[in-house]
Symmetry: C2
Subunit: 106 residues, 2 copies
């Protein structure tokens, strides 16, 4: 079991559909970035777009990196109405999503 100091990382990768415009992608980015102000169980939040040089990002272009302090907080986030509303903004443009969570260890 994770100890009380552990942080639960929530790694979210997006690949957008071909033809998604920069404006549509910016709408998705803005909508995701707005979530920490709306959902207080999001303990930490950062994001960025792929600048890797190895060529093995498999078409994923965006990473959103959320942190929760517990499984209970994640369980509040996942079905949260504001998270669902974000999903509605994202879905028309989404080709693939990958989500992997881990308890951060050194």
């Amino acid at each position: 079991m994770p100890d009380a100091q552990s942080l639960l990382r929530h790694v979210v990768l997006f690949k957008f559909k071909e033809g998604t415009t920069p404006e549509q992608i910016a709408q998705v980015e803005d909508a995701f970035r707005a979530l920490p102000a709306k959902i207080d169980v999001i303990h930490d939040f950062e994001w960025g777009t792929d600048v890797s040089v190895e060529g093995i990002a498999r078409g994923f272009t965006h990473c959103f990196f959320l942190t929760f302090q517990s499984e209970e907080d994640r369980a509040v986030y996942l079905p949260h109405p504001e998270h669902k509303a974000f999903g509605a903004v994202l879905r028309p443009h989404l080709d693939q999503v990958l989500v992997l969570d881990y308890w951060a260890k050194q």
Copy 2:
């Protein structure tokens, strides 16, 4: 261009070949965890194994999350002999790898 305060995140996901034993996986984990002590351009390092509940990790089970302070530091890391030596430990057991880098933004 990223400002001087930005951190370059390096997200590495592994999916191991079917039949890889827990001992072999532990060898890979230990070899990766040993890198920060050997490669000083690794500014921060954490890792963990998938505990997501959404079922969209696409077979990836491990996330290693490295931080560099510059593209120059990453350029030291990627071809570093100790990184290459780790690759030799990993490669026989690797099914898929995904790497996505981003400049961390809020």
